[in-house]
């Protein structure tokens, strides 16, 4: 049972994620973006923060075409847990695995601070071990974290309790104070705050460990992956974006 942590050119939070998972007794390995398959022992995928492919064109716009993303989309479609953090959240939105988009912060400032994040939905890959209503102190570090979506998408997210995280005090203009959302299957979660940067007392907060414990718990509860299904040799064409 291993968490695969994706590494794109420009990713810079992957080692922090690996350390946070290992500190809780989990196993984690780096997965290169140019790989076409996820190893069969991988039971969860983290898309960490950074500046994948330099954020050229738009954040996540190029990363979503990296070869590994086809395998990640298949993995998610089969119910596999996928967690995108910051730039990883942007990549998951660009790839159509999560609804909406992240725009420049409303104040046009790069935000680097600790924020209060309320967990508003349990039972997701990132909140399976957290009681809804819990407030976590988590660092945010982003310029493009203003969550935007259509009215219809917002209605759907609210009705299905798919707004997983909300800012207690909205720092970036995100719609409905949204800091993180999940897929309809609740196995794909994206959030702007960085739980890996709040995973040790030396870092000032251990609140992020609730997220990592949740991920490990959801992996433990999931059925083992069938071995042959993931070994298709077809790299496949990038799947089309589904506008929400």
């Amino acid at each position: 049972m291993t968490v695969g942590v994706l590494l794109f050119p420009g990713t810079n939070c992957e080692q922090d994620v690996v350390e946070a998972i290992r500190a809780l007794g989990g196993a984690a390995d780096i997965v290169w973006h140019g790989d076409r398959h996820l190893a069969t022992d991988i039971d969860a995928v983290v898309v960490p923060g950074g500046f994948a492919h330099g954020d050229y064109l738009r954040t996540g716009a190029i990363a979503r075409f990296s070869p590994i993303m086809t395998a990640v989309q298949e993995f998610a479609a089969e119910g596999g847990a996928v967690l995108g953090i910051c730039n990883g959240f942007q990549i998951l939105c660009e790839s159509g695995m999560l609804p909406g988009a992240l725009q420049k912060n409303r104040g046009l400032k790069f935000l680097c601070t600790t924020s209060e994040i309320r967990v508003d939905a349990g039972g997701t890959a990132a909140t399976a071990a957290i009681v809804p209503g819990t407030v976590l102190h988590l660092p945010i570090n982003h310029f493009e974290g203003c969550y935007t979506c259509s009215d219809d998408t917002l209605d759907e997210l609210r009705a299905d309790e798919r707004v997983v995280f909300r800012y207690v005090c909205n720092p970036n203009g995100s719609r409905d104070d949204i800091a993180g959302v999940c897929s309809a299957g609740r196995n794909v979660v994206g959030l702007m705050p960085h739980p890996e940067r709040a995973s040790h007392e030396l870092l000032g907060s251990v609140d992020g460990n609730a997220v990592w414990s949740s991920l490990l718990k959801s992996v433990a509860q999931a059925a083992p992956r069938p071995t042959p299904a993931r070994l298709s040799t077809d790299a496949g064409t990038p799947t089309e974006r589904h506008a929400p």
């Binding site: 988009a101 725009q103 046009l108 935007t148 990038p238 089309e240 974006r241 506008a243």
Partner: protein, 84 residues
């Protein structure tokens, strides 16, 4: 045939544009008082080899949908001209 292509990527109507709003607030301080409705976008120019203009336009439309724009928040105005 070779075509000169200009793709102007715009934020969709109703999508907030903090950069445009900041520019709109700044211009009056420089004495330009009549400016309204500032929107910031991107211009992407390239040359494209295609059989004819219709084929070029179809290919650019597909590029916009798959890659050059994020349809959740952006759309594009495309100009295609035969290269001289």
């Amino acid at each position: 045939m070779r075509f000169d292509v200009l793709v102007e990527v715009r934020l969709r109507a109703g999508i907030a544009d903090p950069q445009g709003a900041t520019i709109e607030r700044s211009l009056p301080t420089l004495g330009y008082d009549g400016v309204r409705q500032v929107r910031v976008g991107k211009a992407i120019r390239f040359a494209l080899d295609a059989a004819d203009e219709a084929a070029a336009r179809a290919e650019v439309a597909e590029m916009c949908d798959r890659f050059l724009t994020n349809p959740v928040i952006e759309d594009a105005v495309v100009t295609v001209e035969a290269s001289s």
